[in-house]
């Protein structure tokens, strides 16, 4: 088993960039550039998220660039209020506010849901200093569930201009709502029911991986979901490109 890092692929594509960099260093031996005043360098990124599921539209994506010290959740710990709001109802606004409070470098939200097999592309910029330590996280609710969400993170620090890294997103359970799959508990089109409810009534108030949905087709008679709403990991593939 290999370490989970899809950066191997990115590194291969980055070889040409390394060669370019080498050329630049040689040019700099003449020291011509050192006299010009240092202009702030902007690092630009493009994040394309593909929905890999059959029957789970994704709530508007939240893309957050942040320091390594920040994490939107910890396995085994209770979800933040912002995460609960997104995981139960698809509203990422409070989660983004929490990230900003925790020093996020950049945040951007999608403007609409991402349909199965669909994709959405969002962009953000960082300063050179931020880019040295930045991690990008992409998160969204699987809307035909009680409180399932995906979140995937990748380090930006070694991403060269023109280079793309691919990340696979797993599915987590915010642990804030029982996975009843019952009528009027699921905000997505399968039910058009209630999303967020402040009550925390899952088997434990902690974030874990999600075990998937059962659905009426697999014997849960009270479920409003059918077999098309099932999924397996990964549920999203995220391509992060440094455009400049």
């Amino acid at each position: 088993m290999k370490p989970i890092s899809l950066k191997n692929a990115a590194l291969v594509t980055g070889l040409s960039s390394v060669l370019l960099l080498t050329g630049c260093l040689e040019d700099n031996d003449s020291d011509n550039d050192s006299d010009s005043s240092p202009e702030p360098i902007t690092y630009s990124y493009e994040v394309t998220t593909v929905n890999l599921t059959t029957g789970q539209p994704l709530s508007p994506l939240a893309v957050i660039a942040h320091a390594q010290s920040y994490s939107a959740f910890t396995i085994g710990e209770p979800a933040s209020s912002g995460l609960e709001l997104m995981a139960e109802g698809g509203d990422n606004s409070q989660l983004i506010e929490e990230a900003i409070t925790n020093g996020a470098f950049a945040t951007v939200s999608g403007t609409g849901p991402v349909a199965p097999s669909g994709e959405d592309t969002l962009t953000f910029e960082l300063t050179e200093q931020e880019a040295q330590t930045a991690v990008v996280s992409v998160t969204s609710m699987l809307v035909n569930t009680n409180d399932a969400f995906t979140l995937v993170s990748g380090s930006l620090s070694e991403l060269a201009p023109g280079e793309t890294m691919a990340l696979n997103g797993l599915t987590y359970d915010s642990g804030t709502e029982a996975n009843s799959e019952a009528s009027n508990t699921i905000p997505g089109p399968a039910d058009s029911g209630v999303g967020f409810d402040a009550a925390r009534d899952d088997i434990a108030d902690q974030v874990t991986m999600h075990g998937g949905v059962i659905t009426v087709d697999d014997g849960l008679e009270s479920s409003v979901l059918n077999e098309t709403h099932r999924w397996d990991n990964p549920v999203v593939r995220v391509f992060v490109t440094r455009t400049e």
Binding site: I4, V207, L220
Partner: protein, 242 residues
């Protein structure tokens, strides 16, 4: 957390003390194992650094009797003995009992004097299952001080016991799953048993079926609590010093 075990657990340090310090390569690793699942408990975990030439199991192959004992009842003593025979460096039962859903445990492993122990393996039985286990199999250890590697770990089926999904024995070759403490509390009773047979080789677990009744039905496993999607565990390992 403290819970009664299914099996007698041989005490740790047996392996560690057998590795006499010769002061050649004193590599110390910090290893954290997290249970990512919503409802599955891990039995005593075995963490081991071993030579490239050894492995605890191979997908597609028949399980060893030692792996079978771990996967069916959580007894890691046979695997520990196998590892001692190849001078592996092991840590037994770092969580000191069951590792609950969402919980983690951190341990230190020191391959002092055994530079050949370059491969990391981590196994533990998953409860409630008949013979499911978490399996990190011969992963690379970090080689630079401060370097951290993260592995997502999948659920395997040892292929040695029929997945009838009812309470029973943890002894190798006997049907059913053991249900100690919190596992018993979260599991059903009186299941009639799923018609299943021994698969014969180690493979990725196809997940539990479960049912929706705690007092009847075909399974003593709860479909709404105990199903999982891979990965089921996350292992992070950092080379702290050498």
């Amino acid at each position: 957390m403290k819970t009664s075990f299914i099996k007698t657990i041989t005490l740790a340090a047996a392996v560690a003390t057998s590795a006499v310090s010769i002061n050649t390569q004193a590599a110390e690793y910090s290893i954290t194992i997290t249970n990512l699942t919503r409802g599955i408990y891990f039995t005593p975990i075995l963490v081991t650094a071993h030579p490239d030439s050894a492995s605890l199991f191979a997908a597609g192959e028949t399980a060893s009797t030692s792996l079978q004992a771990m996967a069916e009842g959580g007894d890691i003593s046979g695997l520990v003995a196998d590892l001692q025979a190849v001078s592996a460096t092991s840590v037994e039962n770092p969580a000191q009992g069951l590792l609950a859903p969402g919980a983690y445990t951190t341990t230190t492993l020191n391959t002092d004097g055994s530079p050949g122990n370059t491969q990391l393996s981590v196994v533990a039985m998953m409860l409630p299952t008949n013979d499911g286990f978490i399996g990190l199999n011969s992963a690379y250890l970090p080689t630079q001080v401060g370097q951290t590697m993260t592995y997502d770990v999948n659920a395997y089926d040892a292929g040695t016991e029929a997945n009838d999904e009812v309470r029973g024995s943890g002894a190798p070759g006997e049907p059913g799953f053991p249900a100690p403490g919190p596992v018993g509390e979260a599991s059903g009773m009186n299941g009639t048993g799923i018609n299943a047979s021994v698969e014969g080789s180690v493979h990725i677990h196809r997940n539990v079926l479960g049912d929706f009744s705690a007092t009847e039905g075909v399974s003593d496993i709860d479909a709404t609590v105990h199903r999982w999607l891979n990965p089921v565990a996350r292992v992070t390992v950092e080379l702290v010093s050498e």
